[in-house]
Amino acid sequence: MNKLAAKYLRPSQIPTKACHGCGIGMIENWLLQAIDEMGFKQEDVIFGTGIGCVGRQTFATWGGDNFGATHGRALAVATGLKLAQPHKKYLIVVGDGDAASIGTSHLIHAARRNLGVTVICEDNMGYESTGGQFSPTTPAGYVTNSSPYGMVEPGFDPCDVVKAAGATFVAETTATQWHQTVKIVKKALANDGFSFVHVRFPCNENFGAYALGTRDTLKNLEWIYEHTQGRKADGSETDFTWETGIKHDASNSRPEFTSLLRAMNDRVQAEAAAKAAKAAAAQAAATQTATVQAATAPASGGDRSRDSGHGKH
């Protein structure tokens, strides 16, 4: 296997379960380049994945600590992990179903909070692991296993959703933009906040077969290439074009979510310590005047005052 795979991946999981010609492995190769060029070691980075092709074919390939959450919930698990292990880099590699369908709520709230993780949403425009049903990113009118008369549901771009929710880095590339993807992932990793990189890639077995009419790997990657350029090989326009590039870069302009919680904790504990010091000084003064006071000694673990303000007492 190539040098970066030997450096970072888990040998027992290579070759991966991905089909031949699947874009997941390509993108993972670019992620490894970005990680390597940023100087990260295996123990610095935690991979989180979900369910579906992107989840299953990525899960356990990373040689370091990694998790595969339940469907759509990788970001919810990552939120808890980031609380406990804030100084690691998190690469949350999920598909369009995991991120933009079942997991969209967590995507929105992680972006809103500016949780310090990098989400790589690898989009094959359908639920390919279950055979090729449509997803919220399937192009309009395309035939899939569950849209045999053509996709009539309007779709959306998850980039728009996370940008509106407050993500501080949003970008889009495709499976024929290797250099751009490596550069963009490096910038995403450099943002101490919520980064979202949306990468469209080909599926030959299902999307290729049912929506594009072929399992030919070359034709399906050409299709991706054409829709990235906006032009086919014969010069004619494609039915739609993906807008690629960095869509929003407010890197490091907002505090990372868990740093806000840590700052709050420091403030709360400093105030409690000051209050305790004041009480101790007052107690010492009172004792000096030989007045016995029944004072409630502050218990360990912080102030136990009960005024939670909900009006019960």
């Binding site: 795979a5 070759p15 991905a18 024929t176 290797w178 790997t217």
Partner: protein, 108 residues
């Protein structure tokens, strides 16, 4: 312009200075490397590997110009392209793409 080019160019420039290694037991024969290569380096084996595919192999390493497109496009971590040991690119050769520059950087 298409991504995959049927016509292969004659090798020029820094051809012959590159080691190309392909992990044949991991190859799933997608055909990307063979078809994206501008100068005809790869070919298919006629015997299957242990995972059931007829893998690529490096048929004409001397044709490699170090563009690294095969390295970038392989979905299965099979390919490594590096300058042959002890070989340096001529200083007057300006790397035409970022790919070559990063390959150069990786080897130094």
């Amino acid at each position: 312009m298409a991504l995959f080019k049927a016509d292969k160019k004659a090798p020029k420039g820094p051809a012959g200075k590159w080691d190309v290694v392909i992990g044949e037991d991991m190859c799933k024969a997608c055909g990307f490397c063979l078809n994206v290569c501008p100068t005809d380096v790869f070919a298919y084996r006629t015997a299957a590997n242990r995972i059931g595919w007829f893998p690529m192999y490096v048929a004409h390493e001397e044709n490699c110009v170090g563009c690294n497109l095969c390295y970038q496009i392989c979905p299965d971590f099979c390919i490594d392209v590096a300058l042959k040991p002890g070989v340096a690119l001529k200083p007057s050769v300006t790397p035409k793409t970022d790919v070559v520059a990063s390959a150069h950087a990786r080897n130094n």
